[in-house]
């Protein structure tokens, strides 16, 4: 409902700024006489998929001995197959461009099929261990299959699953947006986070440059940069010169990201860069101040530099003119 717009519409229609044919519909929507529940129906479908996959997980956990592994694997596989066959039947022919969903349920049935298939694969691996010592590779297989499904059926949700499953294969929990590595203190995980991040960011750029599923780029690039910055930031928790070296690296990368994003008008990446660079610079300065045990200087640093950043941001936003 937008009562002020409702008041303005008749006048706008009269002056020809709003097409007279569209005015009655606009007026009804603005007055709240016609309400769209499109978003709500999508949210309910998403919740339905979550409930079904959650229920399937509980079923497997609680009834493993009673039902038997073969029945469970077959049931999961059949359910996944049913969902994916329906998707394959109603899907539009493949295209590298963005495709509209054939219907409201399409994305969610695909998601259900992919989740059940992934669960089935994981279950088969756990029970029958076909990959033996190489069992972690099942995550890579799932990531590749999910990525294929995302490309074939043009689903952003499934694409996000493919990226997060790939990161999980490298030991990085994308669900925590890379922040988990802050407490991991594990060099391997840190480097994996940075590596995954670089791979995702490059993949995003390639998608745009080649104009193939270019609308998948924002997700890949944002997740990629979160993992890169999270990985570098985790290094700052190390003591001594190692921590300072990671902070310096974060400062350089954050500043470079902010400058690059400023030039290319990527507002959210600009924010990532500014925050990362500020945190890294403060870490370096605080390290120096701590040696002198100057509490007041620390407060002065944060107040003074924050004001400088605010001034810089105000100047930057005047030039960039971010849409409201």
């Amino acid at each position: 409902m937008n009562l002020d717009a409702a008041q303005a519409i008749p006048e706008l229609a009269e002056s020809g700024l709003v097409p007279p044919a569209a005015a009655p519909l606009l007026l009804r929507v603005a007055r709240g006489e016609l309400v769209s529940v499109h978003g709500e129906l999508r949210a309910l479908l998403y919740s339905g998929v979550l409930l079904i996959t959650g229920g399937a997980g509980v079923l497997v956990k609680e009834n493993l001995d009673r039902i038997g592994p073969v029945v469970i694997a077959a049931a999961l596989g059949l359910a996944a197959l049913a969902a994916l066959v329906w998707v394959a039947r109603v899907a539009a022919p493949f295209s590298w461009r963005e495709m509209p969903s054939p219907n409201l349920a399409f994305d969610y049935v695909l998601l259900l099929g992919v989740l059940l298939a992934a669960a089935d694969l994981a279950y088969l691996e756990v029970k029958f261990t076909p990959l033996g010592a190489q069992w972690p590779w099942h995550l890579l297989i799932v990531a590749l299959l999910t990525g294929f499904a995302a490309f074939r059926y043009d689903s952003r949700v499934v694409w996000s699953l493919a990226l997060s499953t790939f990161a999980a294969w490298r030991g990085v929990s994308a669900g925590r947006m890379g922040t988990a590595v802050l407490w991991a203190h594990a060099g391997a995980v840190r480097w994996n986070a940075v590596g995954c991040g670089v791979l995702f960011a490059v993949l995003g750029v390639v998608l745009v440059r080649t104009r193939r599923k270019a609308h998948f780029e924002p997700l890949a690039v944002h997740l990629g940069w979160l993992l890169i910055l999270g990985g570098l930031a985790s290094g700052m928790t190390e003591s001594g010169r190692t921590g300072l070296a990671w902070a310096a690296a974060l400062l350089v990368v954050g500043a470079a990201l902010a400058i690059g994003a400023y030039r290319s008008r990527h507002f959210s990446l600009f924010a990532f860069g500014v925050l990362a660079a500020y945190v890294a610079l403060s870490r370096l300065v605080i390290d120096v101040l701590e040696a002198g045990a100057a509490e007041a200087l620390g407060c002065f640093w944060f107040s003074g530099t924050s004001i400088l950043v605010i001034i810089g941001l105000l100047v930057a936003q005047r030039r960039l003119k971010e849409p409201l």
Binding site: L17, R42, L51, A118, A119, G132, V157, L324
Partner: protein, 394 residues
Amino acid sequence: MTPELARADRAEAVRNAARSWRGAGVIDAAALQAIEQRYPDDRSRVGPVFRVLLFLFTLLAGNALFGFIGVIGGLSGSNRGDALAVLAVLAGLGLTFATDVQIGSLRRRQGGIEAATSFMALGYLFGAVAWWVFESKTSADVPILCLAGAVLCAAAAWRWGYPLYAAAATAGLLVATAHLSFGRLLWIVLPLAAAPVLLRLSASLRLPPAHRASCTAVLSVALAGLYAAVHLGSWEKQVIEEIGERHHQAPPGGDLLWWLAVVATALVPAVLLALGLRGRCYPLLLLGAGTAVASLVTLRWYVHLAPLWVVLVVSGILLVAVVFALRRYLESGPEGERHGFTAAPLFQDAARLRLLEAGAAILTLAPEARTIHEEPKFEGGGGQFGGGGASGGF
């Protein structure tokens, strides 16, 4: 709220609507530009990303400056609480003035900085009141604080037009009334008495958009409070009395009040949904749906109809079936609508919604990461149930 600010908010509402029409292709770029000229923006606004950055850095700058003054003034010791409280009052008043100047003569709106200064102003003033209330060792410290917080937030919501403060004021008022001996009754009576007025005000053209949104926020919190007061679990555990720090014995189950709570737990969501559907009132529909889920979970808590996995799978299938049926019902109506509802997206930003969905999928469905250092060691039967979303070990 000044008349100039109210006018600016109304014009912004029209421009917002025009942008959504442009997004849906109803009007062209030239028409959008003409509408923006007809309803000009006299405020200084920034986009969402810069707004968040400016908000965060203003918070950091303000608090660090407060700390700096406190440290160099020698107020950081434990025996200087009174002086620190005075400094907090001065800071709060200064920030209130700064917010007023920014929103008033500097004409800032949706700029991040003025929101941060308003937030800090409330925080410092509330902090100072809290210090003196706790120092006075009065027995009614929490209700006094909640009332003070409610008054501060209500004044801020009225003056600067932030609905979030209106919601906080309502929550503060509810917590304060919970300390009265008939607190639970007030949690029921006040929302019931206020709801019709708030509903009317939230759709009144006489109020500016920000105040209408504030009325909706107050209504939502009040009705959530009403549901909490009549909920069966809240009655059994005496949750409202616990909030009011009045430790009652658990009431006997199965008496008249217990049965009334059972009926109300089922009835409130149904009434909210019915009213929401009838009036096409989005906040009531949202509250009705939320409380319905809470009541269904409560039902499962008391009545074990089936194992958990059956409940989850059947609920999921039912939910999907309901969506299919609803969509078909709406789409089969004349011009794809029935009773003022449609399944068509109308003027929503579909691309933005899908990006949000994908982000939510990463947060909710991302599989657990494998533990890297376990890789060389194979023990058979290890690993994770998951990948592509499902997670959890077994």
